[in-house]
């Protein structure tokens, strides 16, 4: 299984619907400071429910909606493939309403729960406790965390 494409719409600095295609193997993303590189990584964490809004540098979930476009919703879709017959598509959409906001997950077009998304990912060994997504600054935090916090990383893996 691998990432085939990410579709980002009105999430963070992606005010326009944007497709990010991926080849198999080794892909680099580069560009000036503040141009939106880390926001692409955040869109993976957001769509797959792998982290809280705090880790995506937002106070509350609605802060992830682009603040320039004026639209009240944002979504990100992650498309996986195994280059043979399996295709999986996970989407997350947040909408601001008068009395709050809603956050909905979809798998292959149908609504589903976060647990269903996590179960599906777990079967391919993608888990919120795995270190397969390393955010900007994570290396520094491993260095500065306490010895006990470091041991807890092994506990979670066990």
């Amino acid at each position: 299984l691998r990432l085939k494409e990410i579709e980002i719409d009105n999430f963070k600095s992606f005010g326009k619907r944007t497709l990010v295609p991926f080849l198999p193997g080794f892909t680099t993303i580069s560009g000036p400071n503040g141009s939106g590189k880390s926001n692409i990584i955040d869109s993976i964490l957001f769509a797959l429910g792998l982290s809280s809004s705090r880790t995506m540098r937002a106070e509350r979930l609605p802060d992830l909606i682009n603040n320039l476009s004026g639209k009240k919703e944002a979504q990100a879709t992650i498309k996986f493939t195994d280059d043979k017959e399996i295709e999986i598509e996970v989407t997350r959409k947040i909408k601001v309403k008068d009395n709050g906001y809603t956050s909905t997950y979809y798998m292959d077009g149908r609504t589903c729960t976060l647990t269903e998304v996590h179960d599906k990912l777990l079967s391919y060994n993608i888990s919120p406790h795995g270190y397969n997504v390393v955010m900007q600054g994570d290396v520094t935090s491993i260095i500065s965390m306490s010895l006990n916090e470091r041991r807890k990383i092994i506990d979670e893996l066990a």
Binding site: F22, F26, T28, S30, I41, I44, A158
Partner: protein
Amino acid sequence: KKINFFETFQGVDKYFQEIFHELSFGHGELVLENPEDPFGGGLIIRARPRDKKMQRLEAMSGGEKSLTALSFMFALQRYSPAPFYAFDEVDMFLDSINAERLAQMIKKQSIHAQFVVVSLRRHMLEKSDQAIGVTLRTDGFTQIIGVQNMQKKKDEEPELMTA
């Protein structure tokens, strides 16, 4: 619970030693503060970069710390492999020699799993199969400005690769 912990600890430690040696030609090891009761103590990371004495992570230089922390992270990943990895500027503290070695290692691993690496460094960009360029337009929106297939590029125009 304790048996599970020890099995995981020993597995991660074995990979940590392998990877630290691959990245820095030195010797690294994970040590439990309290081996009898692991949950009662923490995890110490010790490493001996080549030509130096064994030292704790806290006493190393900025670049040595980040190379050691990266080795620990890769050891966790090797113990429980995932189909894709996403890294955001993990090569920031490294000098050119270490940045080059890290890029080599990722290139080698990318045969078994997909790697998406955000980086500003030449060493990573040159070794990648695909390079995605990102910019911010004047209206404040992010735009993808280019997706180059580096392998094709290398075959056609070798001299374009200088940083």
